[in-house]
Symmetry: C2
Subunit: 437 residues, 2 copies
């Protein structure tokens, strides 16, 4: 074990941006970076957010650099005058800003490849504190940089998450490794579960033992989001015994929650569903009303999904449900669009029209208007077509805003399809087994 | 005008929690509180996040209380030993903790009403720094409190957003009002622009003058996200002259960027489009290939959209484009699905089928596979149908990952539809004008 293994290496993160400190944008970079660094064995000191004032940024960098071994600064690397990170870090380090000619060549090439003209203000982006090492930005035009201030390694990264993330993984993480500041991540296992509330989950776990104690080995961490539980078991120590204990616990966990674990690798239900459908070679289609294309959007996020997904229908109006999916006008009239018989017909109609083995239909009251005592905002009906049979499910989501209800409906729909796809293989397996008797 | 009107009242926010600083939970409280306070005319100094260490919390509260007039602390008010806010604030204020008997009576009643037993650890929740004013918690068991430290008003609020929010609005906001610390917000104007990169925008602004200087009045702030620029002009002072300068600058800005401003109120292109379509009463439909329902999803996020949106088509496979939208098989064969003639036919087919005045068709190569030299990943064709005419546009998005290409395609599609809807009214206005000649 290295010295770094005994004394934790600490980090602080400084996020810069007027939009952050005014609350117009929620800072997700800090949490993302903190998680990455914790995984690498570092310990957090402080997360801090400031606006674009150069002097204050410089003073804060100095303050953070006194306590933490690693300081990450995100944002303020753009081409405009309110992007003050370069100046502030130079001031904190007590060095001047200098042009980097190799970064200039890179920036020229980058603009050329994008077919865009470079303008004078972009030249600000190739000025760096003297002595800083430039970090390439494969996703944008603002390079980052790395410089030592006192005993701290200071890294400046761009603000947009899709630029910041790759730069952290491609450049910062290897440097921390090389400097001996990062440790191998602790061994761990992940599980994604559906249809479990966090408190019910805690009770189920308690039956098995004191797995959730703060000093348990492995440590069990659970987070709930939109009806999905992510569970992580992490070995407490970098020892063989601890790794062995993790293996044993993971096996026990797998047995205990066999019915609820939908993936050990894919947090996204759409990704888990896509993988399962592609594996089965089962054609799928969708008939969406209240989710308005959200389920199709989620499913087509999966690369290679075109092998099993050819088309789907967004039927928002009653007339569209009738004309596109053959839902009878009488049924719509009698039961309303948000009803069991209508989602059943929608699912069947979509499956027939698309020639699919699986189909999901969704119809609900997303709000804010359209609710009634009998059919309140948040009520959503799902129809699941599998090989000729349709099952209907209803949910009443507690969420009180439109986006929330729709997002719950998308997740639930994907999960119902995933369960249907799973049940399909177990039936196939069963009938295959009985055929083989 | 009060003294506070001349010198802005500043605030800082300290969020406490192990789960925040480790990045397991994204801190949304700070952004929410910052927005509320900015609306009340206060100016942000710093947002800070720490874990549960009492000593560090106390030192940070003292540091923040030296700079800001208002310091909000969230989290750390629970019943367990790692909830250290009460102790830390008492230490920072240099006072002991004392029991509050009226809070004890309240807590007893609260547990009784919930049908839960109070346990000893809950008694921690009725201890407060001496001299603090207790703030009721209508949504939970942890009361907050208010105390003055030096020249700063310090408020401690619970961490769960659904407890924190009501306590801020019911207790903190009225106290800030009573203390004369809340003001009407500074006058400002907002603009949302498309098809402008941040650097090109900066150059265009520079032609008009030094509008982006840090001491300019009004102050210009700009943020870029997915091809959209949000620009905010804020008066620097609460004076008539400053308000007048803002008006003049906003008019000049409006003229300078007339072609790019798509909204002065709606950041979301979908919301701006939805509002315009509803205003026009113009039926719209969509034929989506590579965006897989993403544009429908975005558009149906808008409440009331059912007035103008009845259905749309996700036609992922060639055969679906042919069967659902009447795109000729020969055309698909000859030009491929990602081509000008195909998106033109898709848009026309969708419009006819849905009986819509406007239709948008999208077909592109989202990747990671499927690209070629002639049609690389990132190439997307758009067909825009308006009252019988179809225009085609192509874009080559620089983004290198699937989610990115799709997200750009969704935004661009919405923006093209919005431009089409706008052009429609100007044509209508023109033809109305010519008719009236």
């Amino acid at each position: 074990m290295t010295a770094a293994g005994l004394t934790p290496v600490t980090f602080s993160i400084l996020s810069l941006g007027d939009e952050l400190v005014h609350g117009r944008t929620v800072d997700t970079n800090s949490a993302w970076l903190a998680q990455e660094l914790v995984e690498m064995g570092l310990e957090p000191e402080e997360l801090c957010t400031l606006d674009d004032g150069e002097e204050r940024i410089a003073a804060t960098i100095l303050r953070l650099a006194k306590c933490a071994r690693v300081v990450l600064v995100t944002g303020g690397l753009g081409p405009t005058l309110d992007d003050a990170t370069r100046e502030a870090v130079a001031r904190a380090a007590g060095v001047p800003l200098v042009d980097d000619t190799s970064a200039l060549a890179w920036l020229h090439a980058r603009f050329e490849s994008m077919g865009r003209d470079m303008v004078d203000s972009n030249l600000r982006q190739i000025r760096f504190p003297e002595g800083a090492k430039v970090l390439e930005n494969p996703k944008g035009t603002a390079p980052g940089f790395h410089i030592r201030i006192g005993t701290a390694e200071v890294f400046a990264l761009p603000g947009p998450p899709r630029e910041m993330g790759p730069m952290f993984r491609d450049s910062v993480s290897p440097i921390l490794d090389r400097l001996g500041l990062a440790l191998a991540p602790l061994p761990r296992a992940r599980f994604y579960l559906h249809s479990h509330s966090e408190s019910v989950f805690a009770e189920d776990v308690a039956i098995a033992g004191d797995w959730m104690a703060r000093d348990a080995d492995p440590l069990l961490a659970v987070t709930a989001s939109h009806g999905i539980l992510s569970v992580q078991l992490t070995a407490r120590f970098r020892s063989e015994q601890s790794a062995e204990r993790l293996q044993v616990r993971a096996r026990a966990f797998r047995e205990l929650f066999a019915g609820s674990i939908y993936s050990e690798s894919e947090a996204s239900p759409a990704a888990a569903l896509g993988a399962e459908l592609i594996l089965q070679g089962a054609q799928v289609t969708l008939a969406e009303s209240c989710t308005g294309g959200g389920i199709a959007q989620a499913l087509t996020e999966v690369p290679g999904i075109s092998a099993v997904f050819q088309r789907s229908f967004v039927t928002y109006a009653d007339r569209a449900k009738h004309e596109e999916l053959d839902v009878s006008a009488a049924l719509l009239e009698e039961h309303g669009a948000v009803s069991e018989p209508v989602v059943v017909e929608m699912a069947r109609g979509a499956a027939e029209r698309a020639g699919a083995s699986l189909a999901l239909a969704v119809s609900g009251i997303a709000g804010p208007g359209g609710g009634s005592e009998e059919k309140p905002v948040g009520l959503v009906w799902f129809g699941v077509f599998v090989d000729g049979e349709v099952a209907a499910h209803s949910r009443r989501f507690p969420a009180s805003d439109r986006a929330q209800v729709r997002s719950w409906a998308v997740r639930t729909g994907l999960m119902l399809l995933l369960q249907a796809a799973h049940s399909r293989t177990s039936i196939t397996r069963k009938s295959a087994a009985s055929r083989h008797k």
